[in-house]
């Protein structure tokens, strides 16, 4: 019983982190109908920045106080946002302008991902240990509360503010939105900003209980799980991304907590199995809109 509870607790913590990252995938897809594979590298960049800033500040009078963490977090978020905007502006927008096919955009995203990954690898190929700001118990509450707050803020933003409504308009019909006088490029850039900011916050929450990580944290350690979560929940749907994130987080934690009966070797089989089953019955994901599209 205790094992199961521990598993659920871990799962909720991991799930909330996956949810924050899945939102990035979902939002960007909803707006530009493109999977931003470079999102995994935004995660890595956020983690690296937070790490390096923390290490620098630990040596100063701020020590290991909450200010160090907050400053590191803010700088990580700002950097991620800048990287996201630059990527969107120089790698994705030119393709959109030219009217390139979706495949081209996809491959470009993969290419950008590899470029960033290579840079991160060159900077630090070895394992790093993030400073332990809090213990595992506290980090659980931080994860849950932060995610709840951010989700509420995001929902309010998307439903009630003008910019948020504009975002929903662009994701529903780009042409019509333009006719309404919405600056599409600005909205798209904003979406990337929000997505990457959430990713940076997510990775810092993951790391702050003293986790060890490498330059592969976004692409391999956290990996495709947030993306799978976004698709399971219905790509383009924000609540869906969150549900998907928690689902995957809990499955992972439960299989690991029962690793002594061999369940941990099945984690990917189970997750992708559920992925396939859900898509078989509901191709647009759990909460996705059933829009038939011609490719």
């Amino acid at each position: 019983m205790h094992t199961l509870l521990e598993g659920l607790k871990q799962g909720l913590e991991l799930g909330s982190i996956f949810a924050l990252m899945a939102l990035g995938y979902s939002m960007v897809y909803g707006i530009v109908k493109m999977i931003n594979f470079a999102h995994s590298e935004f995660i890595t960049i956020g983690g690296f920045l937070a790490y390096f800033i923390t290490e620098k500040l630990l040596a100063t009078t701020l020590g290991s106080s909450i200010w160090t963490l907050l400053i590191a977090l803010v700088i990580a978020v700002i950097t991620c946002v800048v990287v996201a905007i630059v990527t969107e502006r120089f790698a994705y927008r030119p393709l959109r302008k030219k009217g390139s096919s979706r495949i081209t955009a996809l491959i470009t995203a993969i290419g950008v991902s590899y470029i960033f990954s290579g840079i991160m690898n060159a900077i630090e190929p070895e394992q790093l240990e993030f400073h332990k700001f809090v213990d595992k118990n506290t980090s659980f509450y931080i994860a849950i509360i932060t995610t709840a707050v951010l989700l509420s803020a995001l929902t309010f933003f998307v439903k009630k503010t003008k910019v948020g409504i504009a975002m929903r308009a662009v994701s529903e019909n780009e042409q019509a939105a333009k006719l309404m006088g919405i600056n599409n490029n600005f909205i798209i850039a904003l979406t990337f900003m929000i997505g990457s900011a959430l990713a940076a916050i997510g990775v810092v929450i993951y790391l702050l209980d003293g986790e060890c990580f490498t330059f592969e944290i976004g692409s391999v350690t956290i990996g495709l799980y947030p993306f799978v979560a976004a698709v399971i929940g219905g790509i383009g749907s924000l609540p869906g991304a969150v549900i998907g994130g928690f689902l995957i987080g809990i499955i992972r934690a439960i299989t690991q907590v029962y690793s002594n009966i061999g369940l941990s070797s099945w984690v990917d089989t189970i997750i992708y199995g559920i992925f396939v089953i859900i898509l078989l019955f509901k191709p647009s994901g759990l909460l996705g809109k059933d829009v038939r599209e011609k490719v």
Partner: protein, 388 residues
Amino acid sequence: MKKLFSLLVVLLAVCSVVGCKGNGKEKETIKLGSSGPLSGSVSIYGQAVKEGVELAVEEINAAGGVNVNGTMMKLELVDFVNDEADARKAAAALTSLISKDVDVIVGAVTSGATEGLISEAVKHGVPVITPTGTADKLTVGDNGDERDVRYNVFRACFYDSYQGKFMAEYTAEKGYTKAYVLYNNDDDYSKGLKNAFVETCTLEGVEVATAAYSKNDKDFNAFWVPILEGGYDCVYVPDYYENVYNILKTGYSKGYAGVCYGGDGWDGVIQQVKEGDDASFLENCFYTNHYFGKSENAVVKAFVEKYEAKYGETPVSFAALGYDAVYIAKQAIEAAGSVEYDAVVEALTNGTFSGLVTSSAPFSFNNGNPEKAAVVITFKDGKEVEAE
């Protein structure tokens, strides 16, 4: 025009024949070839072996060289190829080294890469002494029946099932009745050690449970839950130092109070500890290694001194093994009195080797494996010490 052309052809033919005659005459040096990971997550191993090998070559040449049937010949490390711990790259490295006329291969470093190198090496019969490839199958194949194919493959280190078996016997000796193995399911080295450990534990009457993680796992909190729930106080973690440090740190911070055991992949764990961090949990951890750098043994001390003088740091066991592999090659060539592949292989198969850093007693090879013992290392006050 035609006459000029045929004259040129004849000239070329004569030149190439004369050139051919030139080859295979007096060899200037004994050529060594090597490969190992010089970049990537286990580059610390490749670097260490390279430094050990280069030190040995330098030392031997300074002392006059190798006595090949009366003639003193110098050693030459033709190339240390960066195989990035990848089997295919190591196989390509072997081919390129053969084309450079090597006499002995001192490589590769990681088991996976060595397996790739061997797949090419058996086609040539070149003597291969891997300093640090510990996987069982390297010398005898997957089912243990390929010694006649891999007759030219030897290793300077002990092999994985020996390590796993050794630690299982140690576990039983220390009085543990149950043990838990947390291993990396995506790594041959980890699985090899785990299999040997489990097998011997069962023989010794120690109850053993196992749990696997994958190469992508970095968060081990959940994996420790069944260990703590099950009340285990002996955990075997046969993986490399990066993951091991992460696993140990996580476990002890969750309140684990037992011992942890490991294999030679742990070498480097102590360097993972951040300055100022409390690493006292390591005092409950023990691992098998090839040698202990602070030993009072004269051969070890001399090696450590020379290594520190040349590189400014204490040698890890991989460096000692690289160094020893070269000396084994030297002793084999001297015993054979020649650098011919078959003669050297024969000397390796039947000879006795002594005065090595990683083995105080003389030893010989059995199926390519050296019959030598392991050292158990633990930690005290942030430094490694030999365990009782």
